[in-house]
């Protein structure tokens, strides 16, 4: 699913420099990424998603050389093939749960919002246990319910790859395990791959593989 070769990346300003000689994630594989803060884990996810481009090297996702795409092509590829789950859920407080789930379909022409898609969203929400919360707004939900809604949003386009950045970071211990279980269930049922950045070592055994960022060389200003 993911192939990275000789990746070199640095921001325009600052001393941060990321080097990833080689990294891969197989189809259907669930991989955790760990590492110290500031090591570039989120930057790696952004490179894989095509949000930013490396100065050198190649990033391939689902056999597509994403790092060589144009901005527009990368965006279209991203929204159709990659789902994001964020630490802070990133739900819009002015939309209800259903509209949040359907949000990607309203912000790009690459996805078409049909009645079938709406039904799929409802089914997905029912599957994640928030089917009765669809008319509620994020301010009325618990942390766990918010993350479930975020997961629904990520999964609805049936992406091939899910990128989770500290998806359980703001959840209590009881919910963390439950959310990971739900995430794993739905990824497995869709046959998607998962690359999850996490600080939560208790969850690591559930993943197929763990990538330690210390294996990659990152340099930052002291």
């Amino acid at each position: 699913m993911i192939d990275i070769e000789a990746l070199e990346f640095h921001y325009a300003h600052g001393e941060f420099h990321l080097t990833v000689p080689r990294m891969s994630v197989a189809r259907g594989e669930k991989v955790a990424v760990i590492g110290p803060s500031g090591s570039g884990k989120t930057t790696l996810l952004n490179l894989i998603a095509g949000i930013i481009r490396p100065q050198q090297g190649r990033v391939t996702v689902a056999d597509q050389a994403v790092s060589s795409f144009s901005d527009a092509k990368r965006r279209d590829f991203r929204i159709s093939n990659i789902g994001f789950v964020f630490q802070d859920f990133e739900l819009l407080d002015y939309l209800n749960v259903l509209d949040n789930i359907l949000h990607p379909y309203r912000i790009t022409g690459a996805l078409k919002l049909t009645s079938q898609v709406q039904q799929q969203a409802i089914d997905l929400a029912n599957g994640l246990g928030i089917g009765d919360k669809l008319k509620r707004y994020s301010g009325e939900l618990s942390q766990g319910e918010k993350q479930r809604a975020a997961i629904c949003r990520a999964l609805l386009p049936q992406p091939q790859l899910i990128l989770a950045d500290e998806a359980t970071g703001n959840l209590d211990p009881r919910n963390k395990g439950r959310i990971i279980d739900l995430l794993f269930e739905n990824i497995e049922s869709h046959g998607a791959s998962l690359l999850a950045v996490t600080h939560d070592h208790e969850l690591l055994p559930r993943f197929d593989r763990v990538i330690d960022f210390l294996d990659f060389r990152t340099e930052t200003a002291a």
């Binding site: 990659i82 002015y94 939309l95």
Partner: protein
């Protein structure tokens, strides 16, 4: 675009206060100058058409504007008084004919116009109901008076005393309504028309009472001589003119000195108009004005004031627009995280522009609809607004 509008709509509804404030600001900035223009255009049309249809106006020396506003639009001004002789003098010149006006009194806050029948032909006023006034004590009312108070021919209306506490002041007279005029969309719609003599009865120059030569109550008689019988204040004076007591109504003194507010002079032709105006150039007591000239002066001033108001509104409008831009800019900053998220999800930077644009479209549309609604209300009531703002 539909989706952008959908998202923008929900954002605006969620932030009701912000949205309402923005809509209110833009509505005010859009509505005010247009409403002002509407009212001014309407007032210009009303003022000019009325003035154009009135060739000349004679009144006491003093403010020409007061004279015109009172005589043509029945405003609250109080110009000086002229006498009935002034009307007779115009007629005697043979240069035209005169329509006297006495406008001192009111009935239920509506101006009483004391004049004669010629006024109705002159102003091309037609009856919608009933008949023209014929006898002392009768009146004909304008369409708005009839509508406002639900009055019909056969009803009555009482003149208002000058002040509540003026015991020696004019008495209220109950007047019988004989007719209701068709709506003319002029000041005449708001008026109660009586014969000049009826207005003078209200003034107290004419009155009716029991025949002193036949009274059984000697206590009302102050003095009796061979030629004259003088009554004291005990003598009851009729407050309503009926068929039974109308014959007893009479006037005292020389009618040529009875008061008028103004005289409309209708010259036979242009030359006659010039001659008439020339006669009063040096007159110390009276003046003749051309209402169109006076109104043009007023309108010039009004539009001058409007220019100033427009400038102020423009500056305030500019400040408001800048404030609105600031609000949107701050809003974008506040929503930076949301915008970053949707960018991460896979939309272009243009999407953010579309979302903001959609909000602006919705706000502008809402403002436009509200402004249009308010303007239509102003348009429907322009005549009333002009009357309240300019004449009263």
């Amino acid at each position: 675009m539909i989706n952008s509008l959908y998202i923008a709509w929900h954002y605006l509804v969620f932030n009701k206060l912000r949205s309402a404030t923005l809509v209110a600001c833009i509505t005010l900035i859009a509505f005010l100058p247009m409403a002002l223009q509407l009212v001014l255009t309407e007032s210009e049309q009303m003022l000019q058409s009325r003035a154009a249809s009135t060739p000349l106006l004679l009144g006491a020396r003093g403010s020409a504007l007061d004279l015109v506003m009172k005589s043509l639009y029945f405003g609250d001004e109080v110009p000086g008084i002229v006498s009935m002789q002034a009307a007779d003098e115009i007629t005697d010149t043979g240069l035209g004919y005169a329509i006297p006006l006495y406008l001192r009194f009111q009935a239920r806050n509506k101006p009483i116009v004391g004049t004669n029948i010629d006024y109705f032909d002159f102003r091309k006023l037609k009856l919608a109901q009933g008949r023209m006034l014929a006898m002392l004590g009768e009146c004909v009312i304008g369409a708005s008076v009839a509508d406002e108070y639900g009055l019909l021919p056969g009803d009555s209306i009482v003149s208002s005393p000058d002040t509540l506490f003026d015991l020696a002041g004019v008495y209220a007279l109950k007047m019988n309504i004989t007719g209701v005029l068709e709506r003319s969309h002029t000041a005449d719609d708001q008026a109660v028309f009586v014969d000049l003599n009826t207005a003078w009865v209200i003034e107290g120059l004419g009155h009716g009472h029991e025949d002193l030569s036949k009274t059984r109550d000697s206590s009302v008689i102050l003095k009796r001589t061979e030629d004259n019988i003088t009554a004291n204040a005990k003598l009851f004076q009729y407050t309503e003119i009926t068929e039974e007591n109308r014959d007893g109504f009479h006037f005292h003194g020389d009618a040529s000195i009875y008061p008028l507010t103004a005289v409309i002079a209708i010259p036979n032709d242009t030359k006659a108009a010039t001659l008439l105006r020339g006669r009063y150039l040096e007159n110390q007591q009276y003046r003749i004005v051309r209402p169109t000239e006076v109104i043009e002066g007023l309108l010039e001033n009004l539009f001058r004031i409007k220019s100033v108001i427009d400038s102020v509104i423009a500056i305030v409008g500019l400040a408001t627009v800048l404030a609105i831009i600031l609000v949107f800019a701050l809003s974008v900053r506040l929503r930076q995280r949301e915008l970053t998220t949707i960018f991460k999800l896979g939309c272009s930077r243009m999407t953010a522009v579309k979302l903001i644009a959609a909000e602006i479209v919705i706000i502008l549309s809402a403002s436009s609809i509200i402004s249009a609604g308010l303007l239509s209300v102003v348009l429907a009531n322009a005549e009333t607004l002009v009357r309240i703002l300019i004449f009263n």
